[in-house]
Amino acid sequence: MSAHDSSTHDGSKDVVVHTSDTLPERFSNPGHPEHHLRRSDQDPRANKRAELQVVVLFLISVIGTIGFLVAYFTVTPAGTPSSIRNSNLLLGLGLFFGLMGIGLAAVHWAKSLMNDHEKSEERHELRSPEPVRAQAVEVIQEGVADSAIGRRGILKGAMVSALALFPLSIAVPLIGNIGGNWNVSTLKHTMWKKGTRLTIDPTGRPVKASDLTIGSVFHIIPDGLDKTADPMEEKAKAIVLLIRLDPRDLKIAPDREGWSYDGIIAYSKICTHVGCPVALYEQQTHHLLCPCHQSTFDVADGAKVVFGPAKRPLPQLPITVDSEGYLVAQSDFHEPVGPSFWERLK
């Protein structure tokens, strides 16, 4: 890091110093430059013209506001996109001219007509002068002496305790209630259980195995979701993607034999990264892509991660077919769905 050349570092080295006795070490501030008059200061016609421009700009504002009011009363947004578009455009343009006219007029006035001689004002150091500081210390010392707080240890302790404790009467009820029932173990379970039918989101039609052709993907919610106490919370955990692959393409882990049905396989739709719905299925590559952060999962191979910021595969929902041919869950997921959290494996 020593790329600096010597001439810039120490300029006196490579020049012959003739007059260093008489010249100062640094240049000094030359003081305020001369003021230059504007055209409108010198030419009365230019001055008059500038004034006229300001007046016109203010008038444009007046016309803009009148235009706004006319548009407000005459252009009704009647529910069609085009009427909404027109209303928005005309009101907006009216407001724009109403505001811009004032703004440009005021600035133009200031620039061309108001006195433009620069003025100078002195600054003073912010630091209080020494005598004031001494007085400040004295004042505080007097106050401390008046209260005698220095000599009353027990009083001090009692005061500190009281002040430290009283916020609890606000904090305890707040913290007690703000997290609902604080039962974080519900994060680990969903409403899927043995025999719950897989139904199409959002219509709720149950799905038969024969409904799926190879290459198709169904967005699935559990049957009876509407009847639960908190459908949104349940749905946020229970959504599933149901995909049919050619059984020959499917790699099934030994501990997951029997979790799929004839190439039909169900995975949680919630990303194991931070919980977006993973929904972009590329049927040629069998890859599932999350549109939020591009985690990519291989559906044919246990939904393991092939790219992106997620670490874990999507949890698989074990499925089978009931006596009527409808697809049903064998059980809940065997692991918590969604993003990782501290105690998810406990």
């Binding site: 799905v207 024969s210 169904f218 040629q284």
Partner: protein, 259 residues
């Protein structure tokens, strides 16, 4: 170049697999689908003319009997809908290989496309080209369509169909210029990366609802310019370039000395 070539090979394999899958789909569809009224049954002449076009333009990759080769999948059983989608959007015949086959001005006119479709459909049963009534946006309900689009399509095609990115350079195309028929066929046949949305997943009526939503969406902008409907990124760019840019310009004017 080497890497590119390797990728190209790699990419074709899934195409073959998928179109095989489509074949199965077609079979299943034929078995399960309610018989739809076809607008005009293709004549033997159409099929013959289509066969000629096929031999001249498609057989190099798809094989003389459309049975597939190393460079193109079998088309037996893909149905007229798949042919109409691929040919009418100019995706087929394919011009250059890339991460995915892209749409371009079609090579064949409507009549030739219909003949090709008739020929391929004659090789094995598959989804037919939808009738005008099936894709009539005025008969669909855009609110239902929007709900379906939101759950099944928006993650790739963006909330209003402005398109979006897939992995490895692939993308879900914008839908602003897709005809209702093409939208219907895409759902039915699942071209390229797109999954299949058969009639058990999204019923024909629901498909028409989706079309109604997408068509309505084209004139649904609530301001003069919707900034491409790409969401907060383009909004942020405009806030900086136009908003802060203009305001700094004004500030420079305010701060400059009047002459």
């Amino acid at each position: 170049m080497k890497a590119l070539a390797a990728r190209r090979h790699h990419r074709n394999a899934p195409v073959v697999v998928t179109l095989l899958a489509l074949l199965t789909t077609g079979g299943l569809y034929a078995a399960l689908a309610p018989s739809t009224a076809h607008a005009a049954e293709p004549t033997a002449n159409d099929i013959a003319a289509g066969g000629k076009l096929f031999q001249a333009n498609c057989s190099t990759c798809h094989g003389p009997a459309a049975g597939g080769t190393a460079s193109g999948p079998s088309l037996v059983g893909v149905g007229a809908a798949a042919v109409d989608f691929q040919v009418s959007t100019g995706r087929m015949p394919m011009a250059a290989s890339g991460p995915q086959v892209i749409a371009k001005p079609p090579t064949f006119d409507a009549k030739q496309t219909a003949e090709l479709a008739a020929y391929v459909a004659s090789l094995g049963a598959g989804p037919a080209v939808p009738t005008a009534e099936q894709v009539d946006p005025s008969k669909g309900d855009q609110a239902t369509g929007m709900a379906l689009f939101r759950t099944n399509c928006a993650m790739c095609h963006n909330a209003v169909g402005a398109g979006g990115a897939l992995s490895q350079g692939k993308f879900a195309p914008p839908l602003a210029n897709a005809t209702p028929t093409v939208i219907y066929e895409a759902m039915l046949t699942g071209p390229q990366s797109m999954p299949v949305f058969n009639n058990d997943n999204i019923t024909p009526q629901e498909k028409r609802d989706v079309i109604a939503y997408l068509v309505a969406q084209r004139s649904n902008a609530t301001s003069v310019n919707d900034l491409g409907a790409f969401g907060p990124v383009s909004e942020g760019l405009w806030a900086w370039v136009l908003g802060i840019g203009t305001l700094i310009g004004c500030a420079v004017w305010i701060g400059a000395k009047s002459s």
